[in-house]
Each structure stands twice: as C-alpha cells, then as structure tokens.
C-alpha cells in the first residue's frame, strides 16, 4: 500500500518536473472558458436602419446588420448569449400595423435567448403581449411582475439558467413600476413587486442554491434618476451576487460599461446601449482555473 502511494507520487512528481514553465502556461488557454453576452435594449420596433436624413442617427441600426454582427461574434465564440432589456414594442409603424408580430419573429430569427418586459410592451395591453407570445422562441423573464391574474399567467418565468461549456449562467428580469407610466387599462391586474427584494430572492436562488457561475439581471428600471426612484445604480448598490446588469428604459447611451459597487463593495458591471438597435453591447467573461497563490480579483477592461 505504502509502496503504491510512493510510486504514484513519484510519477506525479516526475511529470511535474518534466514540464517547463512555458508548457504550464500553455495549459491555460485550453482550460480557460469564455462566455460572451450580447445585448440590446429599447429597440422600439426599429427594424430598418434610420433614414439617411435622420437628424440624429442617420444610417444607423437595422436588424439585418445587427444579425451580421451577431453571427460574426458567434463564429468567434459559440458560447454567446443574446439578451434584450425590454421595450421591444412601439416606435415605428411596424408595431402600429402588426402589433409586435414582426419584432418577436425577428428576435426569434436572431436566436435571442431571453428578454424582459418593458413598459411599452404593454402598449397593446397585457392581452396584446400575450397574443404575440407564440411568435417568441426566446424566454420572457420577469421576477417582479406578477401576471397570475392576467392572460400572461404562465407565459413568463422569473429566471432561466443557461449552461454553456459546463458553466451556469443565471439570467433574471426586472420591470419598472407601472403606476404613472402605463395606463392601468393596459396592464390590468399585473402586480408590481419590489425589484430589490425580488433581486435578492433571485440571487439567493441563482448564486447560493443553483451555484451559477454568472448572474445577469435584465433590467427595465432605468439607469439613474434625480429622485430616489429605484434605478440600475440603486439596484447595484442595494444587492449582492449580480455580475452584470443589462439596463434599459432611460435610453442611456453609456459611452462604456459602468463599474458600480454592490452592497458587499464588490464590482457590478452595468451596461445600457441607448435605444432603437443603434448599438449592440458586448461583454466577455473569461474564466480560469483557481490559483490560490494569486489574488482573487477580477480584471475589468472597459
């Protein structure tokens, strides 16, 4: 028994001494895992690019171009998720004429993985949203709209866990307070739940119970307010265990993703890419083997 141990140890030891420093480093890329998150928000039925004479966004945006960019990223890294932070509907005649059918069918063609519910997604009523759900091949995620007394009951989920290369990515959705923003005749008996409390429920589930490697919040709360209304910055500060908040609602063109601090003084990344499909957000997460001899910090390049 002792002898067997000795032989095993010897074999391992000689294997180690046989490896040079450079070949040890060479193991890293092999084991390193890479998850890419692509995201949009507030696309507002902008299917075609803006016209050449548009005062602000001439020739920008367009679903056909967005897909060529998405395809290029997926070729580079198949472990890519495509997410949207709400307000898919309303903004061009495509919505007035077809009620969101084109928007949902195109998002399905682009293989979106998930979206959350924005206030304008109620613009044809909770019934108008439900009517388009058969066209959605992606998950509609909301943790703080309780649809149980509406026709949307059962058509959304609070969160979804995506497995890519053995890594678990938990994604949950948060919506903005509807009172004062959406006509009650439109949202009917949808109940708005406290987003901070629900976010804590979600992170407890996703990080603690499900042991997700990444937790992403799709938020339609808005980036920042002068009042104390809950925003993405407020959400980041009041919660823990969220790695990335993908925001919307305020149509904020962040020049680059923002690094905020959470309740535990750890970094949370917040990103929002304006509106109308003018920009696509891209966040790359690189995972490596634990090396206790090195610092535990995460390097963020924005």
């Amino acid at each position: 028994m002792k002898r067997r141990n000795f032989i095993k140890n010897t074999a391992a030891a000689s294997a180690f001494t046989g490896l040079s420093g450079s070949s040890l480093m060479a193991m890293k890329p092999k084991s390193k895992k890479h998850i890419t998150i692509l995201h949009t928000n507030d696309v507002h039925s902008h299917i075609e690019p803006f016209a050449a004479n548009d005062p602000n966004y001439a020739n920008q945006g367009g679903v056909a171009r967005r897909l060529s960019l998405i395809e290029a990223v997926r070729d580079e890294n198949p472990n890519t998720l495509l997410l949207d932070a709400g307000d898919i509907f309303q903004g061009t005649p495509y919505f007035n004429f077809y009620g969101g059918e084109i928007e949902f069918k195109l998002m399905s063609m682009l293989n979106y993985d998930a979206a959350t519910v924005g206030n304008h997604d109620f613009d044809n009523g909770v019934g108008g949203l439900a009517a388009q759900m058969p066209n959605a091949d992606f998950k509609l995620l909301t943790a703080n709209y309780d649809f149980s007394n509406t026709i949307m009951d059962g058509l959304t989920k609070p969160y979804e866990i995506y497995k890519r290369e053995g890594l678990k990515i938990g994604v949950f959705g948060l919506g903005i307070e509807l009172d004062g923003l959406v006509n009650p005749k439109m949202f009917k008996e949808t109940t708005y739940l406290d987003p901070v409390e629900r976010a804590q429920d979600m992170t407890r589930t996703l990080k603690k119970e499900e042991q997700c490697d990444l937790v992403i919040c799709l938020s339609h709360l808005g980036y920042q307010y002068e009042s104390d209304k809950i925003s993405d910055l407020g959400l980041a500060a009041k919660t823990q265990d969220i790695d990335l908040i993908i925001g919307g609602h305020t149509h904020t063109f962040l020049p680059k993703p923002v690094i905020a601090k959470n309740k535990q003084d750890k970094n949370v990344l917040i990103n929002q890419v304006g509106w109308a499909g003018i920009n696509l957000g891209r966040i790359d997460f690189y995972f490596d083997e634990t090396n206790n001899l090195k610092s535990e910090g995460v390097l963020i390049n924005v």
């Binding site: 895992k33 016209a51 060529s68 495509y94 063609m109 083997e289 995460v298 924005v302």
Partner: protein, 249 residues
C-alpha cells in the same frame, strides 16, 4: 525523502487544470455601433419585405415641408416641435369640442416624453407623424377646477418642456412662479377650465395628478397622431418657433 516528493506534488495539484475550480478572472465590455460598415443578412430583408412594402405604400406620401430639423432638445422650457404639437391639438380638437358642447378648450397640455422623435428638415411624410407620435393616444378634454389648474402650474414650474398651448408660465431663477395665465388671464379659483390632453396623461401618466377625478371628461376619439397628419396635410410649410409661453427670467 518522502517529504521532498510531496511538496512538488502539492504544488502541482494547485496548478492543475480542473474544471470545477474555474473562476471568473477577466471581463471585457464595450458598445458596438450598428452602421453601414456591417453587411445586411439577406434572409432578414427577405422576411421584412412584404410587410415593409405594405407599410411604405402608406407612409411615403409627402404631406408637408419642414424648413429645418426640429427636436425636443432644441431649447429649454418650450420647444418649436412641442409648440407645433400643442398648437395643432388646439386647432383641430377645439372645433370638434365646440360643436359637441358649445364650450371652448382653454388650454392644451401634452407631455415631453410623448414626443418620440425629431422632425427632419425637408419633406414630411406620414412616416414622420408615426415617428413623432407612434402611440395610439387619443385627445381627451377634461374639465378641471381653477385650484387644479394652479396645481398644474406647480407641476410645470419644475421646468420640463411639456408641449402646451393657452398657458403662460414665467418662473424665476429660484424656480418659483412669477406669472401664470390660462387662456390669457390669471387663474380664477372659482371657475372650471377645459384642458385638452391625451388619455395616457388622463390615466395617471407622468403623475399629472391634477387630471385625476375631473369635473367632466370628453373623449374626442381623435388620435394625437391623426391630428398631426391632418395638420401636416393642411400646411405646405412647417416652421414652428420657440416663444415665451414658458420661460425663466
């Protein structure tokens, strides 16, 4: 002898490539602009084509001409594009309201957030009307007390350039009201006033609480967008201006 072998073994284990010890190490984040440097995926355009053709047939008819580009961010307190919308609502809604009730609308109040896009210089088509006002909101005329009109001025003094007509508001550099008038006269708290707005604001949108529980309410069943379309169709040239209806001194 055995101890000497164990130490490198332990070191080796720490460095070994086990999947269950993977940890987030590095994050890169950026925004990528979608512009004409990217190719268009053909299957998307093929899918869109029949819908687009149907919409374009209706959208591309020229209704008017705008002498310059107009945006709701052009100026503070009141804007040319907002004034155009509020003035058009008064011009097109009041004849209908008067015909039905024999009363006249005193003022119009819409919301800044309801101006959904800029108006380009040049030809104005049906599409511009949809871009500015994609929502299906209808004009509602609300009869409210003079007291509620004063609450309205208190709401408006915070400075957002909400489209308005028939209201005159002057605030000082402290943000207090220096002068407020409705339909050319100071507010009479004993009177009631007819305010044209949209069903979104009437239903609590933007927390314009002075529109809650009005004395009377009339749904004109006239969409704000259709008012814009009618206004564009009736005017060859569009050239609204910023004026003194809401100013800070």
């Amino acid at each position: 002898m055995r101890f000497i072998f164990l130490f490198p073994v332990l070191f080796f284990c720490l460095l070994s490539c086990k999947n269950n010890t993977l940890k987030l190490k590095e994050i890169d984040g950026k925004q990528i602009n979608i512009n004409d440097s990217l190719s268009q995926v053909a299957k998307i355009n093929t899918f869109i084509k029949p819908y687009k053709e149907h919409i374009d047939k209706q959208m591309d008819s020229v209704l008017a001409y705008s002498t310059k580009a107009l945006s709701k961010t052009d100026s503070e307190y009141n804007t040319a594009i907002g004034n155009m919308m509020a003035d058009a609502v008064m011009a097109y809604a009041n004849p209908i309201f008067n015909k039905r009730t024999k009363f006249n609308i005193d003022a119009v109040l819409l919301n800044y957030g309801g101006i959904r896009s800029a108006l380009p210089q040049g030809n104005i088509t049906m599409r511009e009307a949809y871009n500015i006002m994609p929502f299906e909101n209808r004009v509602m005329v609300l009869e409210i007390s003079g007291k509620k009109v004063n609450e309205m001025f208190d709401y408006l003094k915070h400075g957002t350039a909400h489209p308005m007509h028939g209201l005159h508001l002057v605030i000082n550099d402290k943000g207090d009201i220096e002068e407020s008038k409705i339909n050319g006269a100071p507010v009479d708290p004993k009177k009631t006033y007819f305010i044209a707005t949209n069903d979104y604001l009437q239903n609590g949108g933007d927390h314009m609480d002075f529109f809650k529980n009005p004395v009377s309410i009339m749904d004109l069943d006239y969409k704000v967008r259709n008012i814009l379309i009618d206004y564009f169709a009736d005017n060859d040239t569009i050239a609204p201006v910023q004026d003194d209806r809401f100013i800070k001194i």
